[in-house]
């Protein structure tokens, strides 16, 4: 069924980088306004799944629909917060300029950003608590602060879907709290949020719904449904004890 009631629909998705598929026959649907976490061990295909949802990777078979339309026709409808490591931090650009990049899709080619664009950028920087660093060169920030600026850029884009690739990886407590506040506020505003996450200990606390991935989709649903011992032991193999403790806890 093709329906625009769903923000994202993934159907029978298979993606291969070589002879072995990174994702095999993955299907799920994400409703508008949901806060969804993608979990799974290293190399499980979490980032590949996110890139497939953005239309970045070539699919062997399967479809990705965004508001009922093929993802390739919906560029700009999804705002993306990549992992921090993909950027050159010596680039001559300030925090405010990075956040303004989120508005580029709304600007006419010859016009400077309007007062409204500047206000949106200021508000987004305020949301991620980075207003005091507007004039700072991006490389002069800590890892967590850089992550927050990327979030401000994505928010400034004004998209209805936000995809975040490991936003909590290696960040300080202040950033973690700022990101959680932003997620809560975005959810309240009806934005659909999909987050790649590696920490099982916090996953059930942060997300309404989880997708447990390891090449295939093992489970999709509320944390109580996904956090079952037999599922986790199959997906995480030798590290079962940690999760047994987690389930008990």
């Amino acid at each position: 069924m093709v329906s625009s009631d769903y923000a994202i629909q993934v159907r029978n998705l298979t993606v291969s980088y070589g002879p072995k598929p990174a994702l095999l026959d993955v299907s799920f649907m994400i409703q508008k306004g949901e806060l969804v976490g993608i979990i799974g061990p290293n190399g499980a295909g979490k980032s590949t799944l996110m890139k497939a949802m953005l239309g970045f990777v070539k699919r062997d078979i399967g479809d990705v629909l965004v508001f009922g339309k093929p993802v390739e026709q919906c560029r700009g409808a999804i705002a993306y917060v990549p992992q921090r490591g993909t950027v050159d931090w010596d680039f001559p650009v300030t925090v405010a300029d990075v956040a303004m990049m989120g508005r580029y899709g709304h600007l006419k080619w010859w016009y400077n950003p309007s007062k409204k664009d500047t206000e949106i950028v200021d508000r987004c920087l305020e949301m991620v608590r980075m207003s005091d660093f507007k004039k700072r060169q991006i490389g002069q920030l800590s890892g967590g602060q850089q992550q927050r600026v990327f979030m401000a850029r994505a928010l400034a884009q004004g998209a209805q879907i936000l995809l975040l690739d490991e936003p909590f990886a290696g960040v300080d407590a202040a950033t973690e709290s700022a990101i959680l506040d932003v997620l809560a506020e975005a959810k309240k505003a009806g934005i659909t949020l999909v987050v790649v996450h590696h920490d099982l200990a916090t996953a059930s606390e942060y997300f309404d719904k989880l997708l447990l991935v390891k090449q295939r989709l093992y489970a999709a649903g509320p944390p109580s449904l996904v956090f079952r011992q037999e599922l986790l032991s199959e997906v995480y193999e030798g590290r079962l004890k940690v999760f047994t403790d987690l389930l008990k806890g």
Binding site: P82, T86, F91, V93, Y104, L107, Q137, Q157
Partner: protein, 271 residues
């Protein structure tokens, strides 16, 4: 000084310096921030094959270099976009092949007696009026491209993945950027030659990047620095009777090392 300026060939050299500096400042900045210095080197040396071909076919050497450089840029863009991991190997092969092809064709050219060295090390003092027009047109083309697509170039240069997610055709912007680098290389052949192109594309932007915090500012400061280095190099070449291209690069290199030393000392004093 007035004596020097009264010579027509010096006036042409200065104009060539101005036009090349504009291209260097803009394209050099994009080469540095996109970390495509090696690719630009590959394009520059592949262009040598075009010069050899031009002699062989009896057409303009700059036209030959231009065709080869643009084709090399498109091939390198496709390779780097498709397979980043081994792209440097292919670029190295094209680099060597281009030069070998150029030399072989020059050898095969009947009655060949043109100084191929002038294209390796530049001959800014022998730039004819027609080349100035050609350089001016290319400059307008480069400036137009950067002005028209500045936001897309800015977004792609900083974060290609994000730019693609916003709907920017990143692959196309990147390919055109390499084609622009190829055209800049062709511009610079007359001024400093193929061998020294890399220094002109990298030294001014490197210094500028440390002093400004915007891409536009970096382009403007790089252009000014390029012009200063070119004029100072030309003056040294005139006074000490040196090869002009090498002299321009020598001045740039001295400034580069002095700048690094100054930055290190400043850092040390601060800590």
């Amino acid at each position: 000084m007035t004596d020097i300026l009264s010579y027509g060939f010096i006036q042409n050299a200065l104009w060539a310096g101005v036009l090349a500096s504009i291209a260097c400042g803009i394209i050099g900045t994009l080469v540095v921030v996109n970390r495509i210095v090696f690719i630009s080197g590959g394009i520059a040396h592949t262009a040598y094959g075009g010069i050899g071909m031009a002699f062989f076919l009896g057409i303009s050497p700059l036209l030959g270099a231009g065709i080869f450089a643009v084709v090399a840029a498109v091939i390198m863009a496709l390779i780097t976009l498709k397979d980043k991991n081994r792209s440097d190997t292919v670029i190295g092969v094209m680099w060597a092949c281009g030069m070998a092809f150029g030399i072989i064709l020059a050898d095969l050219t009947p009655g060949y007696g043109v100084d191929l060295m002038s294209y390796l090390f530049g001959s800014i003092l022998a730039v004819p009026d027609s080349d100035l027009v050609y350089m001016g047109v290319l400059d307008i083309f480069i400036i137009g491209y950067v002005l028209f697509y500045f936001r897309q170039i800015h977004a792609v240069s900083f974060d290609m993945e994000y730019a693609t997610s916003m709907g920017v055709r990143s692959g196309l912007i990147y390919t055109v950027l390499l084609v622009m680098s190829a055209l800049a290389v062709v511009l610079l052949i007359r001024v400093v030659g193929l061998i020294l192109v890399i220094a002109m594309l990298t030294i001014p932007p490197y210094i500028a990047e440390k002093k400004v915090c915007s891409l536009k500012g970096m382009m403007i400061l790089s252009s000014i620095l390029s012009l200063v280095f070119t004029i100072a190099g030309l003056y040294c070449a005139y006074v000490f009777n040196l090869t002009s291209g090498a002299s321009i690069i020598a001045v740039s290199s001295v400034c580069f090392f002095v700048f690094i030393l100054y930055e290190k000392l400043k850092e040390k004093l601060r800590s």
